[in-house]
């Protein structure tokens, strides 16, 4: 399975690969020249005194070695080259697959696990293509060439010697079978180790805040030791088989000297032929010795390749329709018809109905966990609704090309992720070719320009991953600027100004008033001040819309919205009056 899979990637380079293998064959043949020449020097030059041959022999040896090392260098580079290309292709496919996988996948898979596939597992695959393939071939070739030579010299003796190989093959197969699961558990443990370290790094602030360094070290040590244990378990399997394989390979020599010796004594073989046998014996021994180690490498590859294959085979639930509507420039009207959404068995949204005309502003308010973010996630098709349908411009969003749909929508998410890039790069994330003026415009509109200019490096300030180093309010404003710059038909602001002080929020709202007018805007917020001017306010509770309408209408209902209003304003009024008056 895994071989068929990897062959698919090697196929484009099959001619290069073939050339490499031919060169390997050449080098294997040349490798036999050297011992042969040494034999001649000892036999004929030194013992028989044929000194005239010496220069020629040395010349041949030097030439053969030079040629061999050139060929070897060249084919090593060929295999490296092929492996790098294969490596790059597979890694790009994984990357591409990750970009296509939906939120559901990222909700369920740990970053450390995915990283382990992209690093450790890919390394095993690379090593296989770059090294294992030609080593297997080279050893097989040397073995075959030597075996042929021996058969030519004496068929029966050669048969006797080869008789040991089934035993070797049997042990080799046993090794392969037993070692494979240990490599699988090594790489699973590698994944766990990776995840523990990765979370420790990402969560370093929490670790320090609670002085839990010791606990983290304990947690880490557990995985670290387990990783060592898994490796040693694997070594215990090698320990069982490799010495056996090694000794069996050596036993070829014993067979040769005993059976061959008797044959010579019986005169069915000449002494000279036995000597010739002896000089080729290493060419049979060595490949058999290598077999065990190569099997290890192959099984290691196979364990890793399976992980990569399963990642590549993961299908996103969100799929592009077969004949997608590829319309540019959606206008932005949004309609929810009886929309329901469940996460596993949990009902998150139920029976959601509303219509937002293009250019309207819809505000969503409601308790924590009532499903506000889910509503907007469904519009972007980050998840598919499990009931009902969502229409944009009157078209079911499942019929629209996913990329086109998302291109017309811009989201400032609640959970802000900034990239370790400059502030300018972060704001221009959705529009990489934006001019600096445009970036500045977006930053000003989001109320971020001022504080950005306060940094010594201004827009060139590099922010860390997750925007660490910036305050919550600053991150929110950069995320807002990033969303604004995209100039979308549908703008979604998910709790975007919660950490921004009121004064700044007011400024932002004033600037954005005209911006909102040209597009459909969804605002999720907790402050009445952020939502009261909306064309439509949805009040969500436990996944249902419990109230909807405009500010005044909702106040008149004297329900949830009214209560929130009283809490935010009434409270304020009383305090204010009490203190000032």
């Amino acid at each position: 399975m895994t071989f068929k899979w990897i062959w698919g990637y090697i196929r484009p380079y099959k001619h290069l690969m073939l050339l490499g293998l031919l060169m390997t064959l050449g080098a294997s043949a040349l490798a036999l020249v050297n011992p042969f020449m040494t034999e001649i020097i000892v036999d004929r030059v030194i013992s028989n005194g044929e000194t005239g041959l010496l220069t020629a022999i040395i010349g041949i040896t030097v030439a053969a070695t030079l040629l061999k090392s050139i060929i070897r260098y060249a084919f090593q580079l060929i295999f490296e080259n092929v492996s790098q290309n294969v490596f790059k292709t597979i890694r790009e496919q994984i990357y591409d697959k990750l970009q296509k996988l939906d939120f559901d996948f990222f909700d369920k898979n740990r970053t450390g696990d995915i990283m382990a596939k992209m690093t450790g597992d890919m390394e095993a695959v690379r090593h296989f293509v770059a090294w294992v393939i030609y080593m297997v071939f080279e050893n097989a070739m040397i073995f075959i060439i030597a075996a042929i030579m021996l058969f030519i010299i004496d068929c029966k003796l050669a048969m006797l010697m080869i008789a040991v190989t089934p035993a070797i093959a049997w042990f080799a197969v046993r090794l392969a079978m037993e070692v494979k699961p240990t490599f699988s558990s090594i790489r699973d443990q590698f994944s766990r180790l990776n995840s523990v370290v990765q979370e420790n790094i990402s969560g370093n602030r929490v670790v320090k805040a609670f002085a839990k360094e010791k606990f983290e070290i304990e947690k880490f040590e557990k995985e670290n030791s387990a990783y060592r244990e898994r490796n040693i378990e694997s070594a215990e399997i090698w320990e069982k088989y490799l010495p056996v394989l090694d000794s069996l390979a050596g036993s070829l020599s014993v067979v040769m000297i005993f059976a061959g010796g008797i044959k010579v004594i019986n005169r069915s073989l000449t002494l000279g032929e036995l000597v010739a046998f002896n000089s080729f014996i290493w060419a049979l021994n060595n490949p058999l010795r290598m077999a065990g180690w190569l099997i290890n490498d192959i099984e290691r590859f196979s364990a890793s390749a399976e992980k990569i294959m399963s990642l590549l085979e993961t299908e996103p639930r969100i799929k592009n329709p077969e004949a997608p509507m590829k319309r540019d420039g959606l206008k932005g009207s949004v309609q929810f018809r009886n929309v329901g959404f469940s996460y596993g068995d949990e009902k998150v949204l139920e029976n959601i109905n509303f219509t937002a005309k293009a250019g309207q502003t819809v505000a969503i308010i409601g308790p924590t966990g009532s499903g506000k973010s889910t509503v907007v996630n469904l519009i972007c098709r980050f998840y598919d609704c499990t009931e009902g349908e969502i229409l944009v411009d009157g078209i079911n969003i499942c019929d629209i090309d996913v990329r086109k749909l998302r291109e017309s929508i811009s989201v400032a998410m609640q959970d802000i992720f900034l990239f370790s890039d400059t502030i300018e790069g972060n704001i221009a994330y959705g529009v990489p070719d934006a001019t600096f003026d445009q970036v500045q415009w977006a930053a000003s509109a989001a109320g971020a320009h001022e504080f950005i200019c306060g940094f010594p490096d201004g827009y060139d300030t590099i922010v860390g991953e997750r925007g660490v180093g910036l305050s919550g309010g600053q991150k929110q404003r950069i995320a807002l600027a990033r969303a604004l710059l995209k100039n979308p038909s549908i703008l979604i602001l998910d709790d975007t100004t919660s950490s921004v002080d009121l004064e700044t929020e007011h400024k932002i709202q004033k600037t954005l008033k005209s911006f909102y007018r040209d597009r459909t805007t969804f605002i999720i917020a907790h402050r009445i001040s952020s939502v009261k001017n909306a064309d439509l306010i949805l009040v969500l509770d436990e996944g249902r819309i419990i109230e909807q309408g405009r500010h005044q209408e909702l106040l008149n209902l004297k329900g949830y919205y009214y209560n929130v209003f009283v809490n935010q304003f009434g409270d304020f009024d009383s305090v204010y009056e009490q203190e000032v008056v």
């Binding site: 970009q99 040590e221 490796n231 070594a235 320990e239 050596g250 998410m413 660490v468 001040s529 305090v575």
Partner: protein, 593 residues
Amino acid sequence: MARNKFDIDEELTSPFNMEHALRLLAYLKPYKAKIFITVVLMLISNIAALSGPYLIKIAIDEFIPQKNIPGLGLLSVIFLLTLIISGICLKFRIRLMSEVGHRVVENIRSDIFANLQKLPFAYYDSRPHGKILVRVVNYVNSLSDLLSNGIINLITDLFSLLVTVGYMLYIDVRLTLVSLAGLPPLVIAVFLVKDIQRKRMQALSMKQSNVNAYIHESICGMKVTQSFGRENENFRIFSELGSEYRKYWMSFVSSLFIMWPIIENISVLGAGFLYLVGISQLGKGVSVGVLIAFVSYIWRFWMPITNLGNFYNAIINAMAYLERIFETIDEKPLVDNLPGAVDMPAIQGYVEFRNVSFGYDEGEKILKGVSFKADKGDTIALVGPTGAGKTTIVSLISRFYDLDSGTILIDGEDISKVTLESLRSQMGIMMQDTFIFSGTIMDNIRYSRLDASDEEVIEAAKAVKAHDFISGLKDGYYTQVNERGSRLSTGQRQLISFARALLANPRILILDEATSSIDTKTELALQEGLERLLKGRTSFIIAHRLSTIKNATKIMYIDKGNIVEHGTHAELMRAKGAYYKLFSAQYSLLEAM
């Protein structure tokens, strides 16, 4: 502080030196007995392996011509025995070396990880996390083979080289010198290639680090990428990074693979030279026997040298990683326990700042001589514009940074003189940036106090009004959540972090915009309970909602690194200063919006 991103190579601050190799050896020290046994085993198995050709020679030269079949049988049995002996040696060698190799790797990794725990926020903030991750996991892994088989081979090869040279000298000094003639050109070649290889490997490891950083960040930021439809652009960047990596890889291996042919050709030339000299000297002090012996020794001489070449390649490979690894182990923590630091006794809750000045970067003061006192049980609210220094003040109480000047006292103790753990474990901090570990909600809340019972965890969740939503989930407190708390809304994550901070039963509680994403209703419910929660604890609250602030014992208005005003809500309103302005401005803003 200079920050790093995925496409900037990290500069190496420490140059290559022998120290790294020596430090590596120090890691091997605890296992010296095992290594010694392995070397002995290797020598035994080498001797066993050497006896094979000798036995064959005896058979061909003596027993077969003499038709001595029993002798041949005996020889074969001895031969089999040597095979079994070397098999047993191999078995133990595999066991001992995998043990040593992986233990050393485990120890090095522990050291890196332990040191990472001491490093300040700034270390993590100033570089992509993917770059730190690969150091701890992948780089250390790449050492394992070098440490297990590499070192043993090195020792045995050096040993057999010495033995061989000794034998050669014993037989004939002149021919030995001739045989060694190949060494000087080899040494010169190695020195010529060495620097190139090392530089290329370093360059490669930087590129590798960049690719990994980009992958890591791409995974973490995938939701943003998808929502902005930037997949093509990212793929293009990734592909470019990959091409660059491939280029550096090829450049590295093309310099790496050159070593072997050089050794091989020099060795063959050397052997040829030996034959020429030896044969021309035949009869003039060099006998046929001596020459035949030399012919076999010359290969035993060059074989370990070739192996050393392989070892050298491995070490070149590892050096670039080793430099990064030791750099991380050596990274100095900015804040550490002072020598003789004592444990902080149970905190009462008196906090005092005396003329505290602090800046993250040199020359840029964030706080300029801040002084204040908080009594046991006080609730201190910090207000003021963004960037005024509010978060900085609360970070200093936990001693996340050391002061430039001034002192912070808790219960009259200078916090820089107590151990960090005893100080921080008595505080509960809830930060703006919530982090949820993968595991259950129960585990996440329990994080702050590992010995808390389930009931205590649930109690804390109830106190912060998180119980309702948690018990609404299918698996309740045992719901699996992951790293960024996917599936939970930001508000829910804040509630979990809040419960976590509270469970620690801290004497000092710090809430840095703890409730910004929590809805008004929940927040109100929270407020009611909060008063009870804060009782007896000194707390510091940073918030934008004035309703959260106005009940504080003391409100401090921070601007430009100083306390501009302080007092109760009523006092400050009467004073009609900055706080009053902020309050009335907010009021009118609310009206206007």
